[in-house]
Amino acid sequence: MNISLTMFLIFIAITLGITYWASRRSAGSAAYFAASRQIKGWQNGIAVAGDYMSAASFLGIAGIIAFQGYDGFLYSVGWLVAYLTVLLVIAEPLRNAGKYTMADVLAYRLKPRPVRGMASLSTLTVSTFYMIAQMVGAGALVKLLLGGYVTFNQSVIGVGILMIVYVVFGGMLATTWVQIIKAILLMAGTFLLSILVMAHFHFSFGQFFAAISQVTYHDAKGAVVVKDFLTPGLRYKPPYGPLDLISLGLALVFGTAGLPHILVRFYTVPDAKTARHSVVWAMVLIGSFYIMTTFLGFGAATIVGPDFIKGHGGTNMSAPLLAQALAGNVFFAFISSIAFATILAVVAGLTISATTSFSHDFWTNVIHNGVERKPGEEVMVARISAFVVGAVAIGIAILLGPTANVAFLVALAFAVAASANLPVIVLSIFWRRFNTAGAVSGLAVGLLASIGLILVSPSLMAIDPPTVTGTARHLIQAKAWFPLENPGILSIPLGFIGAILGTLISSEPTAEEKFNELLVRSNTGLGAEKATAH
C-alpha cells in the first residue's frame, strides 16, 4: 500500500480516537463550545498555531518562495507580526468580557439582536469563504499527495466528512487536540526539513545563500534565466505591486485579530492571563515556523528547482518534493501527511467557529432572545449546523472543481475580518460614544466594501486567453476596475468610517451608560466566565 496513504490513515485513526474521548466530555454549551475553558495556556498556544498555519502557509509560502524568492518571505513576516495586535489589543478584553463569540463583547452594551445578527453574518462569511478555499485546495492536494489513489471529489468528501465528525461529536475539545497534534507534526516536519536542507549545503550558510543568489530556471518563453532569489520585486512589481503588498500587510495586521476561528480559541482557557500566555506560545511557534520557510522555500528553489516543481504538480508541491529530493519516499509521505493534518485542523477550526456563531449568536440570541428553550438546545443546533456547513462546503468545492481560482477567498476572509470585525470590536471596547447603529453599519460597510472591491479586483476581473476554461476563468472578463488583489488599504478605513458615521448620526444613551461596565469587565476580568468542571 502507498506509504502516504498509510500515514494518512494513522493520523485519521488517532484523531478519531481523540474525538471519541472528547465526545464524552462535550455535554453542555461551555464544554462543547469552549472545551469547559480548561485548556492550558501552552496547549491553547499550540492550538492557535495549529488553527492558524494553514496549508496555504505550509505549502503555499514555500511554493511562492521557491518561484519568486524573497517576496514570498515577505508574506511570512506579516503572518507573525499580526499576532501583536491580538496580544496587545484583543485577546484579554475579549476573554474577560465574552463567552463564546466576538459578538458577546459587542452585545454587552449594544442592542443584542441587531449586532449579533450582523456579527454572525460576518463570521459566517469569513469562515465559509476561508473554508471553501481550504476545501478546493485540499481536494487538489490530497489527490496529488496520494499519487492518484483518490480523485478530487473523493478527497473533498473525505476531508469534509472528517471535519464534520470532529466537530459534531468532539466539539471544541476534539478540535483543539487535532490542532495541537497537527501543530506539533508541522513544527517537527519543518524543523527536520530545514536541518536536511542545511545538511545538503554542509551546514554552511555561505553555500546556502550563494546557491540562492543564482537560481537557474526556464522562463515562460523557454529561455534559461539565472536570478538572485534574495532580491525583492520578483513578485510585487510596479506600478501596483508595492501598494498591494502594503494592503496585504494591513489585512494581516488588522485581520488576524478579527478572525473568528482564532478569537474563539481564547474562550477555551480559564482566564485572560492564560489567554495572554497562549498568544505568546503561539507567537513562538508561528515565528519559528515562518523563519524556517526560508529553508523550505529557498531549499526547494535551489535543490529541486522551479523547472522540476512545475512539471510535478506545481508550486504547492514545493515542500513535499523537497522532502522527496532530500530523504526519499518515506519522508515525502511524512511531509504529505503533515499537509493533510494541516488542512484538517484548519477546516475543523473554521467549522466550529461558524457553528458556534450560528447557534449561540443567531439561533439562541437573535431568534430566541437569549433563552435556550430546553437544555442542550444550543449544542444540538450547533451540531446540526456543523453538518450543514460541512455539506455545503463539500458541495461548493465539488462544483468549483480542482482548477477553480480560489486563492482570492483567503484574501477576502482576511479583508472582511480586518474591515468589518476588527473596527467594531475595537470601537466597542475603547469608544464610549459607540452604539448599535455604528456597529451594524461598520460591519455592513466593512463586509460589503471587502466583497465589492474583491469582485472588481484582478482576482475576479481579467481577460483570459481562450485556452483557459471552466472555473479557472475569471468571473468577469474585463479589465479590473480596482488594481489591487488585497482590498485592505481601502476597505479597512471604509469599515472604520462606516462604524464612526453610523454612531454619530444616531444616539443611544443606554450604550453609553453601560460603557463603564464593559470597560471594568474587559480590563479587570471582574465577572469573567470561569472554567467549569466536567
Binding site: 524573497y70 513576516v77 499576532y83 496587545l88 532580491t231 508595492p242 507567537m283 440570541n365 451608560e513 466566565e529
Partner: protein, 121 residues
C-alpha cells in the same frame, strides 16, 4: 423584548452582576484610573512602534528595492530587515508580558475590593 434579552442568559447565569452605580464607582476609582493609565503607557507606544516598524518593510522593499538589495555579509538589507521583524515581534511580546504582570497586580486589588463588597461571591 430587547431589554429582557440582555438580562436573560438562563443557561448559565453571569458570575458577577452589579448595579450601574457599582460599575461607575469602580470605573471612577483611583485604582482603576491608575490601571488604565499604566496600560496606556505601555500599549499605545508599543502598538505604534510595531506598526511603524512593520510597515517600513513593505514600503522600503516596494519603493526602494535598489537600496534594500545592498549586500550585507551573506545576505542583503531586505532579508536582514525582514528577519529582524521576527525578533522585534518576540521582544515586544516579551516586554508586554512583563508589563502585564504589573497590570494583573493592579487589577487584583480592584477585583478583591469589588468581590469582598459583594459578600465574597
Amino acid at each position: 423584548m430587547v431589554e429582557t434579552a440582555r438580562n436573560l442568559e438562563i443557561a448559565e447565569p453571569k458570575q458577577y452582576e452589579a448595579a450601574k452605580s457599582t460599575w461607575d464607582g469602580i470605573a471612577n476609582s483611583k485604582e482603576f484610573q491608575d490601571l488604565m493609565a499604566t496600560k496606556k503607557t505601555f500599549i499605545v507606544p508599543a502598538f505604534i512602534f510595531f506598526v511603524v516598524y512593520y510597515f517600513a518593510l513593505p514600503v522600503l522593499v516596494g519603493y526602494a528595492p535598489q537600496f534594500m538589495s545592498i549586500k550585507v555579509g551573506l545576505v542583503n538589507l531586505a532579508y536582514l530587515f525582514a528577519l529582524s521583524q521576527f525578533f522585534v515581534a518576540w521582544i515586544i511580546a516579551g516586554l508586554y508580558v512583563k508589563a502585564a504582570n504589573n497590570f494583573d497586580k493592579l487589577a487584583k486589588d480592584i477585583l478583591d475590593k469589588a468581590e469582598s463588597s459583594k459578600g465574597g461571591k
